[in-house]
């Protein structure tokens, strides 16, 4: 706790990032209380209005209040993207670690990953929807598979390298089990590229999911999410740019905040890092 407070003091920008994420969570949780309008309500007389005192962020082509849709969209977007990130990171890290560490698993696991990489997520989504029906789970799986394979590749490469490091040999000599070596000694050393990959997965997946929503393979089209607001707004790029600007801005700010907070957390968690590097 003391550490966190100290960190906030030392880095204002981190504080701002955390504040923004906190606001988003509050917005998502209390959307019905905070949104000025029903996000589904279509005020047909007020379609495509630009920013004004009644509609802070303007209205879309259905005459729906964009500000309210952004607030409701926070919920869908954060849950779905977090789902993709968690799914692809957990599975990707585990597969990558085992494949990199155990030569025997390598051949099988990495060839399966190769095969998975080649499948377009649109095809996966079509298949998943025809088997499971429509829903958030499909979207997370269909989009997540792409990023799972990518995380796996990164973790696998690093594991191959790390397991040859002197310190791993030392721990092995000291009698550490394989599991202990993998999760206690190798994993912490590859966490920073994984965090980078996680941040990008978050950013990229928001838009990937929107394209599935649009084909009816994701969430129902009227449900607000930042990604679909953005891709539906694409047609209005020159006529009504606010349809793009606000969801776009929220995506950028969220990704930036995640990135800043992720960076700081990692630095704080690794004592060696803090003492050593800051002197560089």
């Amino acid at each position: 706790m003391k550490n966190i407070l100290k960190m906030m003091n030392s880095r204002k920008i981190t504080f701002i990032g955390m504040l923004f994420l906190l606001i988003l969570i509050v917005l998502g949780l209390f959307a019905p209380l905070l949104a000025p309008y029903d996000p589904y309500e279509m005020m047909h007389e007020e379609r495509l209005q630009s920013m004004n005192s009644l509609h802070f962020f303007g209205t879309d082509n259905f005459g729906r209040d964009i500000f309210s849709r952004i607030i409701y969209g926070a919920r869908t977007s954060l849950i779905a993207s977090a789902g993709v990130v968690i799914f692809s990171m957990v599975a990707g890290v585990c597969i990558g670690l085992f494949a990199g560490f155990y030569k025997r698993l390598d051949a099988v696991l990495m060839r399966i990953i190769d095969v998975m990489m080649a499948f377009p997520s649109l095809l996966l989504a079509l298949v998943l929807v025809s088997i499971l029906g429509r829903g958030m789970l499909n979207v997370i799986l269909a989009v997540g598979v792409t990023y799972l394979t990518r995380t796996t590749r990164i973790v696998y490469g690093l594991t191959l390298k790390l397991k040859e490091e002197v310190f791993v040999d030392a721990f092995r000599a000291a009698g550490a089990s394989n599991m202990r070596l993998i999760f206690k000694h190798i994993l912490p050393n590859l966490i920073s590229p994984v965090i980078v990959q996680a941040t990008f997965t978050f950013a990229f997946s928001l838009l990937d999911m929107a394209s599935l929503d649009f084909l009816g393979l994701g969430l129902p089209p009227e449900i607000p999410s930042w990604g679909s607001m953005l891709s539906e707004g694409a047609l209005y790029l020159s006529r009504a740019p606010w349809l793009l600007i606000f969801p776009g801005l929220f995506i950028v700010l969220t990704v930036l905040s995640f990135n800043i907070v992720g960076d700081t957390l990692r630095d704080q968690m690794d004592p060696r890092f803090r003492h050593d590097i800051q002197g560089v």
């Binding site: 279509m42 047909h44 259905f62 084909l215 009816g216 089209p221 009227e222 020159s238």
Partner: protein
């Protein structure tokens, strides 16, 4: 060491910059050189929204395909600017007193792109293939006893009964009977004719199809034009451009930008919401397409909650706000009209008969009728495709209006392939959404066919349809159509949302169009000045 690394970087950057600038300049020189060397070749570049599956008009009804194919292929009849059928490859017609024997004299000296002259054998073979396998062929051939060659230039068509719309069907090139050489078409079946066999009589011949890049047509030097002045698709067809490129450019923003930048001369299907902005833009000319697009909702008559329940369908119509739906999906009011009548206002078929419940936007009335119809909140599956923005947007607006009026609607959005596959199975849906294009005769509407999903096939309908096709007198036919429309609003196989018009853009230098564009833009008689 550092120095050398940095130096390497700088060198790389310089090389990169050099490559880019050199390609830019080389590109410029290249273009200029090309213009100088090939100055006599007049080229037109048309940015289309998508690629057609095939140019074989007999079996394919894609509008993109028709736009291109009508330059290559011709039919016996075509439409003038009023969309009346007039002779094209036919010289004159002779109809027997009972209206059942039609004798067509063909024009002489009409050459196919392979150099052969067109004769009655080609016409008979083309008609027969269309009649058996064509998309719209069976509509006519259900009434045809036989088509035979009387002599080299005379063809006789015998009908089993009077069939009023025969000429309109022969003139309707989309899914229509275009004339191929007999040796090509005789072997053809349901499978589209191969592109090596794209041999027609039109002012342009097919050169090549480069998937994803373009379809290229070139001027046909031996084209035999009609002598009458050009009028719509009819009359003299004069190829001024030597080459026409049809280039698929899927993104609407890119089509507009491409015309502005001079990379394309013509671009079709621009989003309605851009209309007002582009009208004010002097670097671009807008042209409204007169081919009406009619978004429609189809009810399932074979299964589910709407089977036999006409009242419930009417209840649903009562809550719909067509103005809101069309404004959302299309944009400016100049591009749509909330017309519930089955035919557009500028046609002689237009009538307001039966349209009392259309666009009344009355949720309370909808509830009342639904109660009367015995509706108890059963789920209504509403299928919409994401392939078209108007389907998707109107679907979303309607689903909301229906929910607000107390209907338990489940809006299902699918890609087009899934939708047309699901709608074939009556147990899967209650309503689906699609649109219908222009028809020269109301009998050609998809819902007039019993086999079209929705499966409207009541005795009352059959009675009307028979009366309609066997009447020749235009005044009597209009009367029958008025009654048919009343029946449509009573039994409600479909709900028509309104009339929607697309618009196209082109560079101001491109001349040769009227004040509005024909349904399928044609480029004979056009020139860049």
């Amino acid at each position: 060491m550092i120095g050398s690394k940095k130096a390497l970087l700088i060198v790389l950057a310089v090389i990169m910059a050099a490559v880019f600038t050199s390609t830019v300049f080389a590109g410029g020189e290249q273009e200029e050189a090309a213009v100088v060397a090939e100055a006599p070749v007049k080229v037109m570049r048309y940015a289309t929204i998508a690629e057609p599956p095939s140019l074989d008009q007999q079996v394919i009804t894609s509008d993109q395909g028709t736009t291109i194919a009508q330059h290559v292929f011709e039919g016996l009849y075509t439409f003038n600017s009023k969309y009346d059928p007039v002779p094209m490859l036919v010289e004159s017609e002779d109809i027997s007193a009972d209206g059942k024997v039609i004798t067509l004299s063909l024009r002489k000296g009409v050459k196919f792109h392979n150099g052969k002259e067109m004769t009655s054998a080609d016409v008979v073979a083309s008609m027969d293939r269309w009649g058996e396998y064509g998309s719209r062929g069976s509509v006519l051939y259900n009434h045809v006893v036989g088509v035979t060659a009387e002599s080299d230039y005379v063809v006789k068509m015998v009908l089993n009964d009077v069939f009023a719309p025969w000429k309109a069907l022969l003139a309707f090139i989309n899914g229509g009977p275009v004339i191929y050489p007999a040796e090509i078409v005789a072997a053809a079946t349901k499978e589209p004719i191969a592109e090596t066999d794209y041999i027609g009589t039109g002012p342009y011949r097919f050169v090549e199809r480069n998937p994803g890049r373009h379809i290229l047509l070139a001027k046909f030097d031996d084209y035999a034009a009609r002598s009458e002045a050009s009028d719509g698709y009819a009359g003299k067809r004069e190829a001024i451009f030597d080459e026409i490129y049809f280039i698929p450019v899927p993104d609407v923003g890119t089509r507009v930008n491409g015309v502005k930048a001079g990379d394309y001369d013509y671009a079709s299907q621009i989003s309605g919401d851009l209309y007002e902005m582009l009208e004010d833009d002097s670097s671009i000319t807008t042209l409204v397409n007169e081919g009406v697009i009619m978004p429609m909702m189809f009810f399932n008559s074979n299964d589910g909650i709407f089977k036999g329940n006409y009242k419930l369908r009417q209840a649903l119509l009562a809550c719909l706000d067509m103005d809101a739906a069309l404004a959302t999906a299309v944009g400016p009011e100049s591009l749509w009209s909330a017309n519930g009548a089955m035919m557009p206002e500028n046609t002689s078929w237009y009538t307001k008969a039966g349209t009392d419940l259309y666009n009344i936007k009355d949720a309370a009335k909808a509830k009342a009728i639904a109660d009367e119809a015995g509706y108890n909140g059963e789920k209504i599956t509403f299928m919409v495709s994401s392939a078209y923005k108007i389907h998707n947007d109107i679907g979303i607006v309607f689903a909301k209006l229906m929910k607000d009026a107390g209907f338990n609607v489940d809006l299902q959005v699918y890609d087009w392939a899934t939708l047309i596959s699901k709608r074939g199975d009556a147990s899967q849906w209650d309503i689906f959404f699609t649109h219908h294009g222009f028809v020269p005769d109301p009998i050609l509407y998809s819902y007039m066919s019993d086999a079209y999903p929705g499966w409207w096939a009541t005795d009352e309908k059959h009675e009307m349809a028979d009366a309609f096709t066997t009447t020749i007198d235009p005044e009597k036919r209009r009367k029958v159509w008025t009654e048919t429309q009343e029946l449509i609003f009573e039994q409600m196989p479909i709900v028509k949302i309104g009339d929607v018009y697309n618009f196209d853009v082109h560079t101001p230098n491109l001349k040769g169009f009227g004040s509005t564009q024909l349904i399928w833009p044609k480029f004979w008689g056009c020139d860049l000045k």
